[in-house]
C-alpha cells in the first residue's frame, strides 16, 4: 500500500505544480545566443562572457543563455537562425568569418542564409598575423622575400578551402612568392601549433588573439620560435587599411609590404580576393546577428543594449582576462560592420577567382 500512496502523492504534487505554473504571471523572455561550434572554443567563451552581462541592459532583464548548435562549420546554426528562428529578438546568432567565406565557396544549395538580410548587433574584428618559424631565417617581411629558401616554406592550414590556408597562399602570391608547399589538412589550430613547434610546417596565418593571453602561439612567440612577418590590418569604413593596436611590435600590414615591394598600389584578382577574405570578412570575425525581418525599432533597442554592455566595466574586465587583449580597438560599430559586409559580399569577380583557385590542384 505504501508505494501506491507515494505514487498518488507524486501525481497530485505534479498536477498542482502544473496548475500553479499555468496561473502565475508571465516573466521576461529568455534570450538565446546560438553558437555554431561545440562548447569550449573561442565563440563559445565569448558568448558566455556576453551572457553574463547582456541581460542587465535589456528591458525586463531577461536571462541570456548560450545554445550550441555545431555542424557544417557553423552553417547548421546559421541556417537555423535565417530560416527557423522567430524574428522577435529572442534569438541571436554568433556568426564567424567562415560564414562569409562559405557563402562564396560552398555549393549554393548548401548555403541556406543570406547575410545581407541579417542585421548586425555587434562585430569584433579579427586581425591576422602571418607567422614564420625561425629556421626559415626570416625576422621580418623583407627577410622572407630576400633571404629565405622558398622551397622550405610550408604553409599550414586547417583545410584546403579554409581561411588560414587561402589567406596565407594569397598573401605569398601577392608578394611574388610562387613556390611553397601547402599542407592544408590539419583540421584545427592546435594540431598546427604542434606541427609548427616540431618544424613540420613553417608558415601559418594566426590571429592576433593567438599571440596574447592564453593564445595558442604565445608560448612559441615568447621562446623566439615564431616571428610575425606582416599583419592584415583593420579595414576602416572609408576603405583605408590601418595597423591594429592589438598587434604588438613593428609589424607592417600586407598592404604596406606590397607597396614597398612592387612600388605601386595593389590591384588584380588576387588582391581583390585577399582584401575580401583577409580584411572584409575577417573584420567580422565574430558578429552577433539577428534573423531577417525584425522591426527596425527592435534592432535599435538591441544594438543600444549591446553597446552599453560593451562599456560595462565588469564585462570589459572579463573579456580582457579571457582574451588577453583590449576590446575597444577591435570593436567595429554595427553600421560600419554592415557597410563593410555588404560591400564585401556583393557579387564580384574575386569570388569566381577564389573558387577557381580552390578548385585547382
Amino acid at each position: 500500500m505504501k508505494r501506491s500512496k507515494a505514487v498518488s502523492w507524486c501525481t497530485l504534487f505534479c498536477l498542482l505544480l502544473f496548475a500553479g505554473l499555468m496561473t502565475t504571471t508571465a516573466a521576461a523572455k529568455t534570450i538565446n545566443i546560438l553558437i555554431g561550434y561545440p562548447p569550449g572554443g573561442g565563440h563559445d567563451i565569448e558568448a558566455r562572457v556576453m551572457a553574463r552581462y547582456l541581460g542587465k541592459y535589456l528591458p525586463g532583464n531577461p536571462k541570456v543563455i548560450v545554445q550550441n548548435m555545431p555542424g557544417a562549420g557553423g552553417m547548421i546554426m546559421s541556417s537555423y537562425v535565417y530560416n527557423r528562428a522567430k524574428p522577435d529578438g529572442a534569438t541571436i546568432g554568433l556568426f564567424g568569418s567562415s560564414h562569409g567565406l562559405q557563402a562564396v565557396l560552398a555549393p549554393p544549395e548548401m548555403v541556406k542564409y543570406d547575410l545581407s538580410k541579417m542585421p548586425i548587433l555587434w562585430s569584433v574584428a579579427g586581425i591576422q598575423v602571418h607567422l614564420t618559424r625561425d629556421f626559415l631565417g626570416a625576422r621580418n617581411a623583407n627577410d622572407l622575400l630576400t633571404k629565405v629558401d622558398r622551397s622550405k616554406i610550408a604553409v599550414a592550414g586547417r583545410s584546403k578551402q579554409g581561411s588560414s590556408c587561402l589567406r596565407g597562399q594569397l598573401a605569398l602570391r601577392l608578394l611574388g612568392v610562387e613556390t611553397y608547399t601547402a599542407v592544408c589538412a590539419y583540421g584545427g589550430t592546435s594540431p598546427i601549433r604542434a606541427a609548427m613547434e616540431r618544424s613540420e610546417v613553417s608558415y601559418f596565418v594566426a590571429s592576433d588573439a593567438h599571440l596574447v593571453g592564453g593564445g595558442a602561439f604565445v608560448d612559441l612567440h615568447n621562446r623566439g620560435l615564431v616571428f610575425p612577418m606582416y599583419q592584415s590590418g583593420i579595414l576602416k569604413s572609408d576603405g583605408t587599411i590601418a595597423r591594429s593596436a592589438t598587434v604588438k611590435g613593428d609589424v607592417p600590414t600586407l598592404y604596406e609590404v606590397y607597396k614597398s615591394v612592387h612600388k605601386k598600389e595593389p590591384s588584380g584578382p588576387d588582391w581583390e580576393a585577399w582584401r575580401a577574405i583577409g580584411l572584409g570578412i575577417s573584420n567580422l570575425t565574430r558578429t552577433l546577428v539577428l534573423p531577417p525581418g525584425i522591426a527596425g525599432a527592435k534592432v535599435g533597442e538591441l544594438r543600444e543594449a549591446v553597446g552599453k554592455m560593451a562599456k560595462d566595466p565588469g564585462f570589459v574586465k572579463d573579456w580582457e582576462r579571457v582574451f588577453g587583449q583590449k576590446l575597444a580597438p577591435v570593436l567595429v560599430a554595427p553600421d560600419d560592420a554592415s557597410k563593410i559586409r555588404d560591400e564585401t559580399m556583393a557579387p564580384a569577380e574575386w569570388q569566381d577567382h577564389l573558387r577557381k583557385f580552390v578548385a585547382a590542384k
Binding site: L21, T30, R84
Partner: protein, 178 residues
C-alpha cells in the same frame, strides 16, 4: 561444394550493394578526393564477393560462423520465427518513437512512449507507468532543457511542445543560474 540456403548471404549482398554504391558515387570526385575511398572500397567489394561465395558454398556449421567472433554471443535459444516477430515489434516501437518526435517533438514523445510501452507492451500497471514517466520527464527537462539548453527541434505539430517549453522557460528558468 553445394549451394546452400543461407539468410546471412542476403546481408552480405546488402553490404556488397552498399559498397558498389559508395564506389560509384566517388567516381565524380577529383582524383585526390577519391584516392582513399577507392583504395578501400574496391578491394572491399572483392572481399564481399569472396564472403558471398563462402556464405553460399562453404560447408560450415552455422554456429561456427559466430564462435570466436570478437563480439557478443548471440542467443540461439529462441526460434527464428519468434525472433523475427519480436524484432519487428521492438524496432517498430523504436521507429515509432522517432516518428512521434518528428511529429510532436521530443518533450511530448518521451512521456508518451514510456506510458504506451509500459502499459501496452510490458503490461505494467498505471502506477508504475506514470511514476516512471514523471521521473523521466523531470530528468529530461531538468538536465537537457534547463541546464544544457538543448535546442529542441520543432515537430510538425509544434504547438504543445512550444507551450510546455515556454512554461518551463517562464517559470523554472530562474531556478538555474546558467
Amino acid at each position: 561444394m553445394k549451394l546452400r540456403a543461407n539468410p546471412g548471404a542476403l546481408f552480405t549482398v546488402f553490404i556488397l550493394i552498399l559498397m558498389i554504391g559508395l564506389v560509384m558515387t566517388a567516381k565524380q570526385w577529383q582524383f585526390q578526393a577519391r584516392l582513399f575511398p577507392w583504395s578501400i572500397g574496391i578491394p572491399t567489394m572483392l572481399l564481399c564477393f569472396l564472403q558471398l561465395g563462402m556464405d553460399l558454398f562453404r560447408n560450415r556449421n552455422e554456429d561456427e560462423d559466430l564462435a570466436g567472433v570478437m563480439d557478443l554471443p548471440v542467443d540461439r535459444s529462441v526460434p527464428v520465427r519468434v525472433v523475427i516477430q519480436r524484432a519487428v515489434n521492438i524496432f517498430s516501437w523504436i521507429f515509432g518513437l522517432y516518428a512521434s518526435i518528428w511529429i510532436i517533438g521530443f518533450i511530448l514523445s518521451v512521456p508518451l512512449f514510456l506510458l504506451l510501452y509500459l502499459r501496452i507492451q510490458a503490461g505494467e500497471s498505471w502506477k508504475v507507468a506514470v511514476t516512471y514517466m514523471v521521473v523521466m520527464m523531470v530528468f529530461m527537462v531538468g538536465v537537457f532543457e534547463m541546464v544544457l539548453h538543448i535546442p529542441w527541434p520543432p515537430g510538425l505539430i509544434n504547438g504543445p511542445q512550444a507551450f510546455i517549453l515556454g512554461l518551463v522557460e517562464q517559470h523554472l528558468s530562474s531556478l538555474v543560474p546558467i
